[in-house]
Symmetry: C2
Subunit: 190 residues, 2 copies
Amino acid sequence: MPAWRNLLDKSLVANQKLPYAKFFQLATVRRDGKPANRTVVFRGFFNGTDDLIFHCDNRSRKVDELAGNPHAEVAWYFPESREQYRIAGTVEIIGDSNPDPQLAKVRQEMWGQQSDGARAQYTWPQPREPRAADDAYRQPPPPAQAPPLDTFCVGVLRPTAVDYALYSSENDRVMFSKQGENWTELRVNT
Amino acid sequence: MPAWRNLLDKSLVANQKLPYAKFFQLATVRRDGKPANRTVVFRGFFNGTDDLIFHCDNRSRKVDELAGNPHAEVAWYFPESREQYRIAGTVEIIGDSNPDPQLAKVRQEMWGQQSDGARAQYTWPQPREPRAADDAYRQPPPPAQAPPLDTFCVGVLRPTAVDYALYSSENDRVMFSKQGENWTELRVNT
């Protein structure tokens, strides 16, 4: 397990009483070369790896942006411990047409683990179109056991660099970098 | 005042008991076309405008990235009210050599308003170099009244689009867009 992952696991524990400590900001690059940024919910690590999982809707712009440029950077700030992780890597989107049976299984599991309310969001009307009538937001939730709706995707961020900073009075910064299969680290000035 | 600014002012009040509600994440694009993302501190609006101010060190990578591509997007999540603002625009960095006297005055004011500890950070050793001895972090703070150290910069983000979302049970999303000098808005599906 890379050293940054040990740090991150500790930060998650130290901040677990804050529900929004599981939210991070995901930056991507738009088709026009401008940056995009939004808050997403951390859904755990992928199958015993250090890859970060989030859920998304295949109609969201981030899915299209990542198809054009798979690079992303997470900024994840933990208010309680005053730590920041910047996690750079590439994102794979696991959607309805993914041919890999192992990835399809993970997508099915993630679908089933959600609340009814969370699953219902994937029935909602086309994002960014003029607001539909309220009834369009009141479809019954699709069942957890059935195959996921085709709008439901799982994003998997595979880290290649992590920039860790501690902003308490004992400031600290460590940069981790993946070289082949190995991680190196360097303690640096903040 | 654009409608998004009224919303944002209300969010700042509703979340003011959380010190970190003044932190937002700023995405930029690196020279190699990959996204970058980090947490910065909101320092108010520029001189009666709706432009967002943050402080930065001219040795930080974001200053170089913004020189290559001035576009940025803020993701600003307010935990207490469960609102997100995505604020896209261009950033001007006001540094030591800025010829505009009005901008230089703002930079001087922002320098003077900081705590001793905050000003001392601009004496710290070169960021991202191998960690210096602790003494290098113990320079006396530069005076508030004197001209700012040349490492001190002020970033001014000029918004051109704002994507507002409310994630409570009454979900909502409004997209604001600047056309010339005027803002238009459209209520859309989340």
